[in-house]
């Protein structure tokens, strides 16, 4: 198990891009974050490649994990949510925010995961830490697309900069 991990980590470091055609060719996730003021809500959708996430959960928790809507067990789901909650964190106005899990859906090779942060009366700053998949894929980039009524802002989070801050003053 351990030796398997090290080989994969080592090899991926060097040859991640080494194919003529892969589904995504590059380690990227995107997270859409929208502040809806009239509902005091921050709506979050993370889109993550199922293949990468499944591989990660297998390395981290159990080789039996399957992210396949037909086969996924409650245990698999709890691994998934446990992992995401450790790796995706929000601070609203510099205070730790609680992510409420709304649900998830498979779109063939992409998993959409929905979260919400409630009771955000006003938004002065938002600090996002997204370390999803970085523990297995050092090249992983987690892109944040933020929007509210007025603004659209992007953050690119990666191994060296897993946290980003957006100020709205």
């Amino acid at each position: 198990m351990k030796s398997n991990l090290k080989i994969i980590v080592f090899c991926l470091l060097i040859f991640t891009f080494f194919t003529g055609f892969v589904a995504h060719k590059f380690y990227v996730s995107t997270t859409k974050v929208e502040y809806v003021k009239e509902r005091k809500s921050i709506q979050i959708i993370s889109k993550i490649f199922v293949e990468d996430l499944e591989q990660l959960l297998q390395e981290r928790y159990s080789s039996r994990v399957q992210l396949d809507p037909k086969k996924e067990t409650d245990l698999d789901q709890s691994y998934l949510l446990n992992y995401i909650s450790q790796k995706l964190k929000f601070k609203i106005n510099e205070k730790e925010a609680q992510l409420i899990y709304i649900g998830k859906e498979y779109d063939i090779d992409i998993l959409n995961i929905y979260f919400e942060i409630e009771d955000v009366d006003s938004l002065k700053s938002i600090r996002i830490e997204n370390k999803i998949l970085i523990d297995l894929f050092p090249e992983q980039q987690n892109i944040i697309h933020f929007s509210n009524e007025k603004n659209k802002r992007n953050l690119i989070l990666d191994k060296n900069h897993p946290t980003g801050l957006l100020n709205f003053n």
């Binding site: 351990k2 080989i7 589904a23 293949e51 859906e105 063939i108 697309h145």
Partner: protein, 766 residues
């Protein structure tokens, strides 16, 4: 004088349009170069010449080199070694004198002194597992790379050569003039890598029973391309980028353990020596089977063969005409099936080879996907000119070579598989089989221009996927349409709306792009789909695309050859699209800025009055005019709401004086007048597709050609006259232009239920 004033005034009305009469204060602005998005691409394109015509076709002096190979290859299964002796006959068709040749040595990317790992940026981990640390910092690593044993001319004399990493320069004893041929031989061997654990395009996968499945490619020293555009294409191989090669004829003899099943580029010359009688019988059946594949080697037979580990050898002999490369796959574990495909008056074989780990998915679908793909690509370009196309199942990778390709898509151990695995497999088989066209036959320089093979291929892949879904609805059920990941315009929005500092124009060398998949595959593929469906229309696009394919069949096209041909064959000026979509990172964002409602009256409005006063003119100086009054302006009064064109005296007088009763009968009587202002916030022009919905529920769609933006880059107005009230305007209702922000696409502004809200609503319902 009066007439002159009148003309000026009328010109002024026309020029200013309805609502835009504010005069600007003049500031002295510095001059500038032509920054119009419609500017022609003369500065970006190379000048047409004798080799490449301005039409995009090969010019009268077009040439290409030729490299013919005779090779003896031996696979040492026990020691995981590949040995080869090759003789290359190189023909200089160029007008240039050559003093040396360049040969590609791709395997050296895996050599211990390879610089590939050195260009990967890495960070120091604060802590690491001991084993990981040893591997990364203390181990020797895999001993790969070519061992070149000899390089000799036809007389057996040693040739002087220099290896610069993945490129070898061979000194010619005598310079090659135009038309000269030079024959030389190379003897080599290398250690074959594990392509699953080491990740690679070539190598073996080892199974628990000790057997290996070899997929062997980029395995022999190969001639680099020399042409009129780049001279020697000897840009180094770093691992990710692909390559361009010279066309030629191949004679290849491959020796493997006698219990291996093997297939490769070219036509098998000694079928009777390597096939059993039963296999020959089944092969004859397969040649006549157009609907279902015929099993040549069954799973049972492959399982039996896997136990043998024969030490005897067998040689498979192939000949391939007019190919740019060679690859083969060999294993005891291969199951093999084939079927025939009719293309024009020729039959082509669709072939699959896979270990039992691929079943049941592979037995059910691989060969049918191959056949369907050949038909779709033949329709879009030309009939597949090679005798066969093979899909080989290799774990975790997809890679293309002439007539043969490796494809992933492995079911779970119990034989079940997810939609992700299934569509991954369909997609990669279509894609890699499609690569037979781009770049194996239409042979662009992949190392330089990723989009010319990957992007164009991704575009045709989309069409082939849709065709496959229509042909085999049971394969994609319960979906009604094949769920293509790349192709539909709205799927590229995420990439194009991203951080500009991490996006490169498509016209960038593949190795230097940030997001290779989106840049080299999705964006150009989607762009061509938008060209076909939205900008040119299928008829014009397909004719032009076909022209490009046929002009450059078995040749080396450059980007301009594609761009120019698409315009040359369609009479459409597409420079704005090439510029915007391929040469820049601009985005599409078009919206409805404003909608104003107008009423028609014969009473002069304030705006015109002011203009008249400023010029010292009176109403009587003017001919009868019809005036438009905006709903919110001071000229407007409520009575106008109910008035019709019949109430506009000036108009009625004109009609009575100038039109016959018959003509009058046929006049339209619009009662609603709108000025719609469209805004363009993105740098990329695009046709405006506007859908107008009326109060009676009917709707109509008007497409304003992209040239609407030619002199006004930020906003344009359109007057709509209608006998019905407009209740809604939607721009790009089918999301076919890759508009990155659709929140401004609707009037009146209406927020669509977003992805989050509709998901939440549904999950609460359930």
């Amino acid at each position: 004088m009066k007439l002159f004033k009148l003309l000026t005034l009328v010109v002024l009305f026309l020029a200013t349009g309805l609502g835009h009469s504010q005069e600007k204060e003049e500031e002295r602005v510095p001059g500038h170069y032509n920054n119009n998005p419609f500017k022609q691409l003369y500065e970006e394109f190379s000048t047409p010449n004798q080799y490449r015509s301005a039409s995009g076709a090969p010019g009268p002096a077009y040439y290409q080199q030729q490299a013919d190979y005779v090779m003896d290859i031996e696979l040492d299964d026990k020691n995981k070694k590949l040995m080869g002796y090759e003789t290359i006959t190189y023909t200089n068709n160029s007008p240039d004198v050559l003093d040396y040749l360049w040969v590609q040595l791709d395997q050296n990317m895996r050599a211990r002194d390879s610089k590939t790992p050195l260009i990967q940026s890495s960070g120091a981990a604060p802590a690491d597992m001991a084993g990981n640390f040893v591997n990364q910092y203390m181990g020797e690593g895999f001993d790969g790379g070519f061992n070149i044993q000899e390089v000799k001319d036809a007389n057996g004399s040693n040739l002087v050569y220099t290896i610069n990493r993945t490129m070898m320069r061979i000194e010619l004893p005598e310079s090659m003039e135009t038309g000269d041929q030079f024959k030389f031989s190379i003897r080599w061997w290398y250690n074959i890598n594990d392509h699953v654990n080491g990740r690679g395009r070539s190598g073996y996968e080892e199974f628990e029973d000790g057997n290996r499945a070899y997929v062997i490619a980029q395995f022999f020293p190969r001639m680099a391309v020399y042409n009129d555009v780049e001279g020697w294409q000897n840009s180094q191989f770093w691992g990710r980028d692909e390559f361009a090669l010279v066309f030629g004829d191949y004679e290849v003899n491959i020796t493997v353990p006698s219990d291996h099943i093997l297939d490769g580029t070219g036509e098998l010359q000694n079928r009777k020596e390597v096939f059993s009688k039963e296999m020959i019988k089944r092969y004859a059946q397969a040649k006549k089977s157009y609907e279902e594949p015929v099993i040549i080697v069954s799973q049972e037979e492959a399982e039996l063969a896997s136990k043998g580990f024969s030490t005897d050898k067998k040689t498979w002999k192939f000949k391939a005409k007019n190919v740019r490369d060679y690859a083969f796959a060999s294993s005891r574990r291969f199951i093999w099936d084939m079927m025939a495909v009719k293309l024009g008056d020729r039959d082509v074989m669709a072939v699959s080879m896979y270990p039992k780990e691929g079943n049941p998915l592979w037995e059910d679908w691989s060969t049918k996907v191959v056949a369907s793909t050949l038909i779709s690509y033949s329709r879009m370009t030309f009939d597949y000119p090679y005798p066969k196309a093979i899909s080989v199942h290799a774990k975790n990778q997809g890679m293309e070579y002439p007539m043969i390709c490796w494809n992933y898509g492995r079911p779970d151990e119990d034989g079940t598989y997810s939609d992700r695995t299934k569509y991954g497999m369909f997609g990669v088989v279509i894609h890699e089989i499609g690569h037979n066209y781009f770049p194996m036959i239409i042979n662009s320089d992949e190392r330089q221009w990723t989009w010319m093979d990957e992007g164009i291929n991704t575009f045709v892949q989309y069409i082939a996927e849709q065709d496959f879904g229509e042909k085999y609805p049971e394969a994609i059920a319960p979906n009604k349409k094949y769920p293509s990941r790349r192709g539909p315009a709205k799927n590229i929005v995420g990439y194009m709306s991203g951080d500009q500092s991490r996006i490169a124009p498509i016209m960038t060398k593949g190795l230097n792009t940030y997001n290779f998949g989106a840049n080299g595959y999705s964006k150009p593929g989607t762009g061509l789909n938008i060209l076909r469906e939205t900008i040119m229309g299928r008829e014009l696009f397909d004719y032009s695309f076909k022209t490009y394919a046929n002009r450059w069949i078995f040749k080396h096209p450059s980007p301009e050859d594609f761009f120019r041909t698409m315009e040359d064959a369609s009479a459409m000026d597409l420079d704005w699209f090439w510029r915007g979509w391929f040469y820049t990172t601009n985005v599409v964002d078009i919206g409805v800025q404003d909608v104003k409602k107008y009423y028609v009256t014969s009473k002069m409005n304030q705006q015109v009055k002011q203009m008249m006063n400023a010029r010292g003119m009176k109403e009587s100086d003017l001919p009868p005019l019809v005036y438009l009054v905006e709903e919110n302006s001071e000229d407007f009064d409520e009575s106008m709401r109910n008035s019709t064109l019949d109430d506009v005296t000036t108009l009625q007088e004109y009609i009575m004086d100038n039109l016959s009763p018959e003509e009058r009968m046929n006049l339209k009587k619009p009662t609603f007048f709108y000025e719609v202002t469209f805004e363009k916030l993105g740098g990329l022009p695009m046709p405006i597709i506007a859908e107008y919905t009326y109060s009676d529920g009917s709707s109509e769609r008007i497409t304003y050609p992209v040239q609407i933006w030619k002199t006004s880059d930020k906003s344009v107005g359109k007057v709509i006259a209608s006998d019905k009230e407009i209740t809604k305007i939607v721009i790009d209702p089918d999301e076919e232009t890759a508009d990155i922000d659709t929140s401004n696409n609707t009037w009146p502004k209406r927020k669509k239920l977003g992805q989050f809200d509709s998901f939440k609503k549904n999950s609460i319902k359930n």
